[in-house]
Point group: C2
DNA sequence: TTGTAGTTTATAATGGTTCTAAACAGCTGT
DNA sequence: ACAGCTGTTTAGAACCATTATAAACTACAA
């Protein structure tokens, strides 16, 4: 299993639940945008044993802390996560609430002219809202 | 009262509560970033009658719908609102959770190269996360 | 003044997320 | 292989921001 080493290297024990969640999250070609609720549904559909909701929360947060997932800054009643942890941006379709990736190369260079004393920029994230 | 006309023109009755909330929100020089909770505290400090929490929610949402407030897209356990409804961006100080305005003129032109069929861009918002 | 539609209010309900504490499972040293 | 430690999973309770409810109230037009 390719995820066993990855988890162990991060100081996370490769439990059955974590490995199953890894497969659902990372065995895919395209970026996966999801809420905990959507992930829970996917898990219910794809695997036969039950994974408790608390474990899903724990795992997603553990993966986020280790840098395998990141939160998408968006106002919604649910928190969105993204398997694409590179620097990139999002289209947000207001009609259906779906997200679409905007790679860094899809956006011209961003020039932040204002500086804040003693602070440095950790990330720059653009949210482009779309309407019909 | 300068807000009476403004409210009436928007189809909102100028009630005592709404006028008091207007003064707290809009009688200031600088942009105000706030959560419902912070607004509730400010109301408790500044006025003597009580305004119910439900009214605060109702009013903020009514003002947002009319375009006098806007939500700031940020992941937090509470929703942030902004009295600056112009097109602009934010610094987000990760250390203390405070927001700082980034005017459009503080950011160079943004070029979104990717297009989505049948969709048009409603807004472009940048969140710049700051660390020490 | 009277009617009505909009508003406020206290309180209950909702729902995503976090906490708890007990059972369980990897892992290391023997 | 076993013991023991510590990390993990789990069901359910708790938490808390937000929304819904429904009754009292109020601005405003007729």
């Amino acid at each position: 299993m390719k995820y066993i080493e990855k988890l162990r290297n991060s100081g996370l024990r490769p439990t059955k639940q974590r490995l199953q969640i890894c497969e659902i999250l990372f065995d895919r070609e395209k970026t996966f945008h999801f809420t905990i609720n959507e992930l829970d549904q996917k898990i219910k559909n794809k695997i036969h044993n039950k994974i408790s909701l608390a474990t899903i929360y724990n795992t997603v947060h553990a993966f986020e802390k280790k840098g395998y997932l990141k939160q998408i800054p968006i106002n919604s009643n649910q928190t969105y996560f993204d398997t694409n942890v590179t620097d990139h941006h999002h289209f947000y379709n207001l009609e259906d609430g779906k997200l679409i990736d905007l790679e860094n190369s899809d956006v011209g260079p961003i020039n932040i002219k204002k500086k804040i004393n003693g602070k440095k920029i950790k990330s720059i994230e653009i949210l482009v809202k779309l309407e019909d």
